[in-house]
Symmetry: C3
Subunit: 277 residues, 3 copies
């Protein structure tokens, strides 16, 4: 994979989303659910969120890509998430998993463990979450001793490289690790995407909504392209929003505007490098 | 009903809300619940949201108008919504129904079907939702084959006219259909309200929060006046916010400001026409 | 306690939070959950929200301070809140209680009654809520006849003074009463903090997020200092945001920016007086 080809694929993904307004439904946490929907809309997609088991199966059969974020688990998730994941696998629908706060609580561990055979197309997390998920799934680079601190990371992106590659090889999809420089891999190629802003840690939901935006692009591209496109537009929008913002309140506003205004070419031109995994 | 009388009623409704700060509690979805509350506060009302059955009955007896939006159903809604609707009918409390995403999932269909005898004072939806609800309730203009795409519409407002009129005649209240030009009817008169912004589709919750704002005005006016007042202020605020906004982030901010700043006279002067149903 | 010493403690609390980025997890309502998290992040803390019983116990053992807000109760709270409160007491973890809408619904009354032996470190509410909680716990200044109107107050802050002092003496912690002038007390000293903005009533969640921010400061200071620091930064940020805002949309943005930008010294210099309780 050379960079120019990758950039052409990013441009195609962004254009297709802007033209077709694809629906990427979610089962996601209540903290950032509004931001996830607004970010999906800002890049040209459409959003719908559900909690119930048969509604999870409905969205798995609705034709787009689905985003599952385990942030704030509710009791019904015990039924909803396995049934949805099973339906996603059965229909071959692309889906994005964000293993938020892996390690907290019995249900979260059980659900994330049970996702293994349903192979998410894209896994998005911070370094600690990716390492912990690889550990839970007994893949290379994982560790049982998670350094997850609630929703925060205590590991570097580089430290999660082996786990990310192993997860991508296992699923046959892509893995995106968020950090100062972001890593995206399909198990063969590793992309490093630059940009963003320290201010992205001062608002809640940049990680969650990146997962939702990756699901939007997964309606229009392969998992690796979708994950890298989402990562690039976040790095671009974060950098631009920071220049215009006095603090996190204005940053969130400017960030959504920047997501909306980013052109396909600008997203493809956000600095990134490719190397062999 | 002539237009000048209608405008006077709108002015009275807006003034009364600004003077009395009426409470319009909601049972609504988690995606846009914050935006619903903030829009209700911006126009001069007050907000409170609940999930539990006895709390639904409490708000039905609290004296204001109530907003029920079936966006993100939770298991407890199976008990909460019928008990709340029954209490609303028993007390004669005005209530607004938004049949979001009608057609998705077994519980949603069952709940919406069971609302029929409790006759919501105002029904607010996009064209596809209004047509599908009329179909579910076996009224004119409805169709069993819903074109609802998640939370999006695939029908035009004009196509929903017959269904809207039939629903209003059945309930004895009003129906508001959101689209490029919005339709509001009480089954006798049809109002067409102009304005708004394409940007309203680029943020989540303009429809949901319009329902909540209609409930605020329903504390101070009859259903038709309340629904048209809410629709007019949304069209006014949308148009103004678009002029000031670079993208959907700033649009949402400017939209809330515009809701807050709109005067009774400006809301009454937003372009609309009346015709016989 | 003289004012200069108090100001030094405020400065220390703010500095420690900015340096250590403490995690203050919450169980809070779905209406303002995003604003709570963003306010906690803006002042330098970190946020995580949960619903499930064992996750409540997890956060009670995680080492920070915990925020419990009973705004939008879900059925699982019947199990989650008592287990969490018990774990908080067992571990001696500081926690903040916001008894939102006390008096609405059977579960809310029962849960709030059962919190009594677990003694929250900080209680934050409006005047009516504080009076009603003192009444529920059979303390001085309380009354069974609550004037709570949903989430709004119908009492003055001064009228809640006796109840606030009695609650603080009972818990051994602090109580913060929000209103035009805010009262904070540890049962020995009463602080009156000035500032803020009428616009704070025009957005949802200023009260809720103040509770979350108090929990952040409770990771770095005693309950009285934490509650007063949170109240001071809210009064400072509200005053500044109002000067820059056309309406409630821009106010919320500017408010989060102002929370972020406030220096330790500015927070300590926000006008307040101390007197004996």
């Amino acid at each position: 994979m050379n960079k120019e080809t990758m950039q052409q694929q990013i441009i195609q993904a962004v254009r297709k989303v802007k033209e077709t307004n694809p629906m990427a439904p979610s089962i996601t946490n209540t903290v950032t659910i509004n931001f996830v929907a607004n970010a999906q809309l800002a890049v040209g997609g459409s959003a719908a969120m559900v909690y119930l088991p048969d509604e999870g199966e409905f969205i798995a059969n609705a034709g787009g890509a689905v985003y599952i974020n385990v942030g704030t688990l509710l009791p019904i998730y015990d039924e909803t998430l396995p049934r949805t994941a099973k339906a996603l696998r059965a229909t071959g629908t692309p889906w994005v998993l964000d293993p938020v706060a892996i390690g907290i609580g019995e249900m979260r561990t059980r659900l994330l463990l049970n996702f293994k055979p349903y192979k998410p197309s894209i896994i998005r997390g911070n370094a600690s979450e990716v390492i912990a998920l690889a550990g839970l799934w007994e893949l290379d680079g994982g560790t049982g001793a998670s350094n997850v601190r609630g929703v925060d990371t205590t590991d570097t992106v580089a430290a999660a490289r082996q786990a990310a590659v192993a997860l991508a090889r296992y699923t046959g999809g892509a893995v995106a690790v968020s950090g100062e420089t972001d890593l995206v891999t399909d198990g063969k190629t590793v992309a490093w995407s630059h940009g963003g802003s320290r201010m992205m840690e001062k608002i809640t939901g940049c990680g969650c909504s990146l997962g939702g935006v990756a699901a939007v692009y997964a309606c229009a591209a392969d998992p690796f392209t979708a994950a890298l496109t989402a990562t690039n537009v976040y790095n671009l929008a974060g950098r631009r929003a920071e220049e215009q913002s006095a603090g996190p309140g204005s940053f969130q506003v400017n960030f959504l505007d920047a997501l909306y205004l980013a052109t396909p070419e600008e997203i493809a031109d956000n600095p990134f490098e490719l190397e062999e995994a």
